[in-house]
Symmetry: C3
Subunit: 158 residues, 3 copies
């Protein structure tokens, strides 16, 4: 039986999302079953910048949507971001080391069959609609997450 890896992505930062996606891609390449449960700021990774909408949102939800990162490429660094300069530097250093960009890791994970979940309560609080996420993201409850996580061989909170 395949090993199971369960990641809870809580953070909405470039470097942490990168860590989650690298682990997810590698685990998948090792024939493991991998799921990423995006909650709170982690939802920002799976927002599709082409699909964002303000329809049916309260004022707060509109403000929140406008002030937060619009998808993978827009996430800041968790430290040394320096209004984007630190992040630019890091992405160039990744290029120099022949590492693919974050977006490529995200697309790779989706294509290889990593399962992406979005936390139902978080989407409701933040006012994100299902139609604003990248294709394939399923909205599930914390209960569903716990079911999957307790049956996995490893769980990380990122």
């Amino acid at each position: 039986m395949n090993k199971k890896v369960s990641l809870l992505l809580f953070s909405g930062e470039f470097d942490k999302a990168l860590a989650a996606l690298i682990l997810a891609n590698e685990a998948k390449a090792m024939d493991m079953d991998v799921s990423i449960f995006c909650a709170f700021w982690g939802l920002l990774l799976v927002r599709d910048p082409e699909k964002l909408t303000d329809r049916d949102k309260t004022i707060y939800e509109k403000m929140f949507g406008a002030m937060t990162a619009k998808g993978a490429d827009d996430l800041p660094l968790s430290k040394m971001n320096f209004a984007g300069i630190g992040k630019m530097m890091l992405t160039e250093m990744m290029e120099d080391a022949d590492a693919p960009p974050l977006d490529a890791f995200l697309k790779g994970a989706v294509n290889k069959g990593v399962t992406f979940y979005a936390c139902k309560l978080s989407t409701e609080v933040m006012g994100f609609g299902t139609e604003e996420f990248i294709d394939g993201v399923k909205i599930v409850t914390a209960k569903d997450y716990l079911q999957i996580a307790t049956e996995s061989d490893m769980q990380l909170f990122i």
Copy 2:
């Protein structure tokens, strides 16, 4: 046998404490055994604002006690806190989505039988006394935590 969930709450932030408490409450509702081991900044969640005291504290411990959050309601957001405005916005968005406040999740967890532990070394370093915590918090060592965590079905560091 019941599934076991072990959470190590290291962070002293509103959104992370909320994530821990939501998971703890849901896991408990699924008949799992749940423990939250509060260490470092995570201790701020279980400070009881009604019971804080400066007795027998060094100058540093008094300063530290005064500069840090005084219980669940006082925790800041991990990002976009904006001197409390971001947090106020998020708590109103939670109300709009019919989600209970952090304090209700904390009380719920205590009432449902989630076990709360406080890290002995952290309490000693920070100068927090047992009598300053909410009822039911037991002070244990890192060793006790490791014993419980390695026998659990899932462990998260939050």
Copy 3:
């Protein structure tokens, strides 16, 4: 058979590194097998300040090396650092509580046989050379980490 503990140290902060090392030392004292996989900012913990070099580095790698913490003692607090004052206060509070300094926990962990790994991709992106790390650090891939982590009794992302 010994219990196995797998820690992924992603953060480059004093308090989080301290948490990882305390757990590692205690687990080792309980006869568990412990490994710490340092990735991204977590690599800063195992830089040896005596061995840092700029040889064969690009401009960005030199800048990055100069702007980041030079080993365990140089790590900032994750919060309340206040340009080092908060950290100084916390280290004095640790002394008052008879807790050893971070460096002692690191040396203790190495001496007791905690295995330290450095993430290959992170070292390449950040331009850190093997020769710049403290003795005993092995460079391994994310795949190696996943192999070890999925066979461990507990895993934490710190």
